[in-house]
């Protein structure tokens, strides 16, 4: 089994936000919720870089560690998923997550948190693969169809890479070697305790 990871090559990301749109469309993510977003650092200054960020599917995931109902689980592909039937929308995973991945629909009288929603690595949830129930709760399950996450698959500059960690790290290293520079794999140290030479 592969160890699935995301890697955003900030030298290639042009902040087109197509990954954000593709994700919202593929999974029919509700208004106000973004499973993926593009953050631009040093905006308008020399050294400006854009990074597409979602759930990084951490090794030793903080969300899973703090969840009061233990609703998280890690698949054989090392994708971190959660069960919306046992999520209570307490917000703890959001406090713990380094990447701000957990999102909550605003429901109820105070606009309080509903059940958490986050990037599934296009791998659905605990329901039967590609069932209507799974789609309604988590969106499509491309991984079960043998496809990679749509955000990375349709990235026009191939800045966003998804797939086995070793393979995408190798692709990134070759790019850096060829062009002579790179700002590194954003979030990899935090999520995977890994350092990609660049």
């Amino acid at each position: 089994m592969a160890r699935m990871m995301f890697l955003c090559d900030a030298e290639r990301c042009i902040e087109c936000n197509a990954c954000v749109t593709a994700c919202k469309n593929e999974h029919e993510v509700p208004w106000g919720i973004n499973r993926r977003r593009v953050v631009t650092i040093n905006d308008g200054k020399p050294g400006e870089r854009s990074i597409s960020m979602a759930c990084m599917h951490c090794t030793d995931a903080p969300c899973a560690a703090v969840c009061p109902t233990s609703c998280f689980y890690t698949t054989a592909d090392a994708v971190v998923l959660h069960d919306k039937d046992t999520c209570i929308g307490c917000g703890y995973c959001f406090y713990a997550c380094p990447f701000g991945a957990p999102q909550y629909p605003r429901i109820g009288n105070f606009g309080g948190r509903g059940k958490m929603d986050k990037c599934t690595y296009c791998a659905g949830g605990p329901q039967q693969d590609n069932s209507a129930a799974e789609y309604a709760q988590y969106g499509s399950n491309r991984l079960a169809e043998g496809k990679l996450p749509l955000c990375a698959e349709m990235c026009s500059t191939k800045a966003l890479l998804a797939g086995d960690g070793q393979i995408i790290a190798q692709i990134y290293r070759e790019r850096v070697q060829q062009r002579g520079y790179g700002s590194g794999a954003w979030g990899w140290r935090t999520a995977y305790r890994l350092e990609v030479q660049s």
Binding site: G32, R37, V39, R49, P62, E195
Partner: protein, 336 residues
């Protein structure tokens, strides 16, 4: 000698410069500036507790935080610090109470019940107390469930039942926060005038409240003794802090950002477990721990001998005001 070497090095560099410039032909000019480095930034923010943030073009400006390593600190707080502090405080107080009960037993009314009573808390006092008390118990249990339920209840009843229980617990926790806060405000207004600390409280604490050792006498006290005043201020100040930090969490992002919410949770969690531990002792002494004490918040009418023993000055005041008729000294109950 060394100067010569530096000069030679400089000349070599100058000669090499055009060659280097030729090498970068065809490379886009933007990487001329040193780009931000993911690894260094992440390590730096991890050490300083800062965040890597930028700009987003989506409406949710909270999404502009790229990486917030402070989540790790919060995780350690929730999974380690809060769990241990909570467990030690609550189990510790329970152990102390059990030892206290085993050695001291139920503290009796020294002269036995007189059979005559005096009104200690009227209906409003008692209603406010029990509104605050019942909401506190539900808030405490549903709150403890978020930290300990995963280890204690989840394995017993399974994930589905536990999720249902926790979801209702969360809803109850959010809504009952309002009557609890109202109770804190009303208790403050009703009882603050009798809870101003004074010199008698110091004497009361020095005597250990007359709690320790058979035949120990509590020093004379007004309407509230030193220990009760402590519980009062703990409830008012602790309750207010817990309420305010709680509202910050119930209305996400309305008052503060992610760092503020993490801090609010830490304050909320720590103060809550300490309050729960303290209130356990309050519940003990107000029920099985002391004969005659429960009546104060039960019927509101306490036995006169109990009142004289614990609140002699208050009894004198009440008698002076003519709220009760002067009883025969040392009267025993008619039925005795």
């Amino acid at each position: 000698m060394s100067r010569l070497r530096i000069a030679f090095l400089a000349a070599a560099l100058l000669a090499a410069a055009p060659a280097a410039a030729q090498n970068v032909v065809g490379t886009p000019t933007n990487p001329v500036q040193t780009p931000p480095r993911a690894l260094e930034l992440e390590m730096q923010q991890m050490l300083t507790g800062g965040r890597i943030a930028g700009r987003v073009s989506i409406p949710d400006q909270n999404a502009a935080n790229l990486i917030q390593p402070a989540g790790r600190t919060w995780r350690d707080f929730h999974n380690v610090t809060l769990t241990w502090v909570g467990a030690i405080a609550i189990l510790g107080v329970l152990a102390v109470l059990i030892v206290f009960y085993a050695t001291r037993g139920r503290i009796p009314i020294e002269g036995g019940p007189s059979g005559r009573t005096i009104e200690r808390f009227n209906l409003l006092d008692r209603s406010v107390h029990w509104m605050t008390a019942t909401t506190f118990v539900i808030l405490a249990l549903s709150g403890l469930n978020l930290t300990f339920g995963r280890y204690l209840i989840l394995p017993l009843i399974g994930p589905e039942a536990f999720a249902t229980l926790s979801l209702w617990g969360k809803i109850a926790h959010n809504f009952l926060a309002f009557p609890f806060t109202l109770g804190i405000v009303l208790m403050f207004l009703l009882w603050v005038k009798d809870n101003i600390p004074n010199a008698r409280d110091i004497a009361w604490f020095k005597a250990g409240g007359g709690l320790f050792g058979k035949g120990a006498h509590p020093p004379p006290a007004g309407r509230f003794n030193g220990g009760q005043k402590m519980v009062f201020w703990l409830t008012i100040l602790g309750g207010s802090a817990v309420a305010i930090s709680g509202y910050i969490l119930v209305f996400p992002f309305m008052f503060t950002d992610i760092a503020g919410q993490q801090l609010a949770h830490m304050v909320h969690g720590l103060l809550s477990v300490l309050m729960i531990a303290a209130i356990l002792a309050h519940i003990y002494i107000g029920s099985i721990g002391m004969e005659g004490a429960f009546a104060a918040m039960g019927s509101g009418q306490v036995d006169l001998n109990w009142a004289k023993e614990h609140h002699a000055l208050w009894v004198e005041q009440e008698m002076a005001r003519g709220r009760i008729s002067a009883p025969p000294a040392g009267a025993a109950a008619a039925g005795d």
